[in-house]
Subunit: 218 residues, 2 copies
Amino acid sequence: MTTEIVTRKSFRREGEDKRREDLIAATLECVAERGLAGATVREIALRADVTAGLIRYYFPTKDELIGAAYRAVMNRMTVQASDALKSANDDPRARLYAFVTANLGQPIMDPHNLSLWAGFIALVHADPAMAAAHRDGYLGFRDELEMLIRDALLAVGAPAESRHTRRHAIAINAIIDGLWLEGCLAGDIFADGELAETGITAIEAVLGISLKAEGGAP
Amino acid sequence: MTTEIVTRKSFRREGEDKRREDLIAATLECVAERGLAGATVREIALRADVTAGLIRYYFPTKDELIGAAYRAVMNRMTVQASDALKSANDDPRARLYAFVTANLGQPIMDPHNLSLWAGFIALVHADPAMAAAHRDGYLGFRDELEMLIRDALLAVGAPAESRHTRRHAIAINAIIDGLWLEGCLAGDIFADGELAETGITAIEAVLGISLKAEGGAP
DNA sequence: GCTCTATTTATGCAAGCGTATAAATACTCG
DNA sequence: CGAGTATTTATACGCTTGCATAAATAGAGC
């Protein structure tokens, strides 16, 4: 007769919120390092210092965890951009300026964020729930941008009816997205702040107003 | 003693080029329909009406097939945009106009293309070979764009030194990429041609020239 | 028409996947 | 302090995956 001594992993009970956050954070780590394919249940559990089974306790299916992680990334970027707004002064043009440069600089313009974003975007097409999550995030971002644009236009007495601001929001959103992409993918071939500067210049041209000086309408 | 009658799949020998193309096409079908995760060796083989083993005969590893497929997509989009240029007239502004609208309309601005692109982009971060392939494609596209921009500027006597055209190429590339993205992700919330028109307007503003009329510099 | 080989099929394996479920345990509440 | 429960671990099952390999065969070249 042999005496087996099995030692079971000791653990602490954490609050539901804490656990969910930890699991999401671990998921993002995995995706960032090895892509969506690297985000396996077991690897995520390992990072969160938890056994795989627990994941299912908080997320009925892996897809739900992935979806939650996606929303977390989007939310994080949104919050970071909004933070930049908070510390900006009251001039609407300065606020738009701050918003744009925040989105085109650290920590938002980061290869990890792109990896995460792209991995999720690739799923949007096949997964309706993900598609809805994405559309909400996109429209939210664009709406915030449109308000900033309208305020900036009004500040210099330029026309700011919604049929104008809508178009501008679409175009300027494209500029931000496009430059963000370029910067994430190949940040090293651009000088520091070059993309932010390029973005500001392009946006000024599109709006026909200056965002820096106290000048204004054409 | 039992007599077993096993029927083996009949097949034809195809040229190497044909087979590779077929396999790549099948891969793209899979990715388009169910994302990168749906592109399994077996599923690809099924679509190509071939058994799974054959894939390994032409592509030592699945990653190589995926990489080849990525290059094929990029190449296809590039060719389609170039085709639009060929059928444009000689006016440099018209050529830039055609290039932009081609990239912001069918068949380039298509959710399938985005799925493919995003899936691959998510891999770029982890796979250096893929990253190189991507950078080449990106720089090629931007160089072509920069030439078009320079010609358009020169046509109206605007300054077109390389330090200007480089910046413009970066910004306009961003506009195209950003709008392409928006269109692929949520094409249904935009009117027909709205994105192309928005893009043209924004680009005209950035360059300070018209791309339609025979007018010109500010 | 025979032979030879490049191409293709068929089969199998080991690893890793997501999920299910039962047993163990840390904490809560009386 | 003891019972009960929510949380966590542990284990295993059934699939799918990419890859390897042996057997078959279509078609080219003599």
